[in-house]
Structures are given as C-alpha cells and as structure tokens.
Amino acid sequence: MKKSIGDNIFPERMSFENGLKLLKRSGYQGIELWLGDRPWFQMATTDAQLREMRQQIEDAGLEISNVSTALDWDENVSSRDPAKREAAFRHIRRQIEAAQIFNCDAILIVAGIVTADTPYNEVYNRCVDSLQKLAPDAASAKVKIGVENCCSEQRFLLSPREFNTFLNDVDSRWVGIHLDVGNIHDTGFAEQWIEMLGPRITRVHLKDVLKHRGRCGDQSVYTNIFLGDNNWRAIRDAFTKVGYDGWVVAEMEAKYRYAPDQQIYDTSAAMDRVISGNL
C-alpha cells in the first residue's frame, strides 16, 4: 500500500511548494489533488500549468495518487438543472484530462444527491445514464472513475450490496468505487464494504467516524484515525482478504486548531500502523 493525503489539508496560506515539502517530510509517497479547492488547481488552470504542477510534485519526490473534487456538491450529474448537469460533466472530464497529465489512473467523483425534491429513483437512473456516458472517456484515457460512497450526505447508495448493483448497472470496468471507510457512519461496517466491493475499489479514503454523532449535529461526525469507532483491525484484514494493495488516502475533515502541520505528521504515523497491521 502507498500513502497519500489531499492538498486541501495544507495549512492556510501555505504555498503549494511548501506543502509538498511538508508531505515528503511527513513520509507520504503521494498527494491527492482536489480540483476546485485550492488556487493552484481550478477549472481555469491550463494544461501547461498542470504539467508544471506535476513537475513540482515529482521534484519533491511524490506521486499523484488521484484527482478528486468537491465541485460535485454544487454541480452534480443527478441534478434536475441541465446547466448544472453539464457543468458536472465538464468538471469530471477535466478531472480525467488532469489525471492523464498527472500520469495517474484514478479520479474521485460524488455521483447522486438525493434531496426532498429530487427523489431517489430519479437520481439513481440519472447517475447510471451519466456514468455510462462518461465511461468511454475514462476508458480512452485509461483513468478509472471512483464513485465515492458519501452515503449519509448523499442519502444515496446506502449499502454495499446496493452499491454493487449500481456498478453492475453502470457496467464498465472503468467505473468503480472510491471507498471512504469513514463515510459509512452507523449504517454499516467498513470492512463489509471492502469485502463485498474488493475488486472494484479504485482508491481508499481513510478517516475515522464517531458513529453516535450522526450528520445532523453541530459537531463533525468525522475524526482522526484511531479516535473513532472504525474497527481498524477488521478493515486492515479485509484489505488483505480482497487483495487491495493500492493507494490509501487520508481525508481529515476535523482539523487541528493549533500546529496544523502536526496533524499531517500524526496522520502519516497512524497510516503506517494501519498499513503494517500493527494494531
């Protein structure tokens, strides 16, 4: 397994270059780049600028694990608004192009947001249709689309069995799951998602979850690795069981109030323990 963390964890006002140095010092092998989060990687960033970023990352001794985005929360393929759906297609295709430039083979998207006025079945069918349209782009670029399980936030695809059925319906080996082991909350068990979706996992997000908090309170349901309710031994064993040996990417929602760089070091050390199985 290889260790990565998102560029959105860089402390405020830290430059991209210094962020890369920090990751390298902390022991990461890779970086997850978030389209739309930080000034250095926006929709307007040109191919030439992306190539320059790649060079900087390689010069720092790092690889790009995957290209992610939070833009889906505003512009989703399941939206009723055609303009927003078009925008979603644009940024997902841009993620695929960027991944090619970065020489990495996976992107993360959030497909489907169920709301009070956009019902489940409508979202489901629109997502399947959209991913079937995007799959040829992914195939020709040789970049896998990892659909993240943001189960509770999306109110969508809430069980591993249903996620599996969803991927069967999309029916492309270029579309899989970007599995977040912290996103399952109290509706299931991360290790069972790993066991059921093993060969379809494109990348993994690591974080811990405080199951009793839920998503509606004023405190984050997420926390740092080992501080929550995840069964890390079972999760590690499940990765071994299904033969997952790819990138694991830390995603920390709750940030340190002081010494924010320390969170990057601490997370790296915790990830080492997960990877080694020394739990």
């Binding site: 290790e191 066991e195 093993g198 069964n231 031994r233 079972a234 064993d237 499940a238 071994t240 069981k241 299904v242």
Partner: protein, 206 residues
C-alpha cells in the same frame, strides 16, 4: 456381493435421512443434519463441483460412533472426508472424532469483533469470515490448514489411501453468502487435485 458393496450399504443406513448424491457430474456425497445451520451450509456447498473422491459432512454436531467408523472405512479405501463441524458441536461428537480419527477438539471459542477472519494456509492462503464460534483443534503444524487468533481451527490428516479434512469454522454459510474468497477456497479443496497422490488410488477403489 463384495466387501465394498457391504460397506457402502452399511454407510448408507445411518445417514439415510440426510445423505444426498451430488447433481454435479462427478458424484460425491453430501451429508447434512436436519437443522437450519447444517441445511444452510449444505445449500452453500451444493453449488460447488465436488470431486468424486470426497464425502462432505455439513455443519455436523451429533455424529455418532457407528457413522464415524464407516467414514473411516471409506477414508482407508481412498475417500477424502471433508468434515465441517457446527459451532454447536456436541461432546459426543467431539469424543467420536477423538476415538475414531484421533482428532482432539477444544471448547468452541466465540469469534471476536477484533478478529473476524479465519486464516487458511491450504490449499492456498485466504481469509474467510469466521462463523460465530470456531472450534480449535489440536494437531501438528504440518496438519493445520487454518488458524484463528493463531490457533489451528482446521486440519487435514491422511488415513489409509484417503484422509479427513476437519473444518472448525463453518464455510458453507459463506458460500451461501457468495463470499468470493470462501468460494475460491472451497472450490480448491474439492477440486480433487489438492489431495495429492490420492486421486488415482481412489478412482480404482470406489
């Protein structure tokens, strides 16, 4: 009537209520008990192709001595007995296994949420879900084929021209749940080629 026919008929009697021939091309035998665990396990195993040299006992808890002696006779003659124990294994069954096959079982251990998987090393390395409780078995390291918490819970032992594979963690329910690793593992166990050196001998004696 040959001695073999007599033995085959004798074996059929104690298991008459629960034995069935496989619908797979190579006929092996499945023996189950009339309880939900054993039946569920048998349903899982039924989907597998099983080599003709195997006799499979699913989720057993009450095997008696006469049945065990007949199985031993079959093993001596070249069959491989795959014996899956129920976690509700009775003391009588444990004594029978000790007396007839020399397999010493320890008290069942409840599976822990800290360790969810049985770790197989034969026929290949694999992790499968453990099933509520597992039954530790005393055997030599060379006989052990799976461990739970570092303790052997499954073993294989040669008996005459055949042998016995004892499974102290139920595998059939995992097959029913379509667990890929369990399916691959069970398929390898029942392929027949895993029982090295026994296939030819068995085919001339059954």
């Amino acid at each position: 009537m040959t001695r073999r026919h007599i033995l085959q008929q004798a074996l059929a009697v104690p298991f008459a209520m629960c034995a069935e021939a496989s619908s797979a091309p190579a006929a092996s035998q499945i023996i189950s008990e009339p309880n939900c665990l054993s039946q569920e396990s048998a349903a899982g195993f039924r989907s597998l192709h099983r080599a003709s040299i195997t006799i499979l006992l699913c989720g057993m808890s009450t095997l008696g001595k006469s049945g065990a002696l007949q199985l031993r006779e079959q093993a001596l003659r070249g069959k491989w007995i795959v014996f899956e124990s129920s976690p509700l294994c009775t003391r009588k069954q444990a004594r029978t296994l000790q007396d007839v096959f020399g397999i010493a079982l320890n008290e069942p251990v409840a599976a822990s949420s800290d360790d969810l998987f049985a770790r197989y090393i034969w026929p290949h390395s694999a992790l499968t879900r453990s099933f509520s409780a597992v039954i530790p078995v005393a055997c030599s390291p060379t006989e052990a084929i799976a461990h739970y918490g570092g303790v052997p819970i499954a073993m294989k032992r040669r008996i005459g021209r055949g042998g016995i594979v004892f499974l102290g963690s139920m595998l059939g329910p995992n097959l029913r749940a379509e667990e890929p690793e369990a399916t691959k593992l069970a398929a390898a166990i029942f392929s027949g080629t895993t029982f090295a050196g026994t296939s030819t001998a068995a085919s001339t004696n059954t």
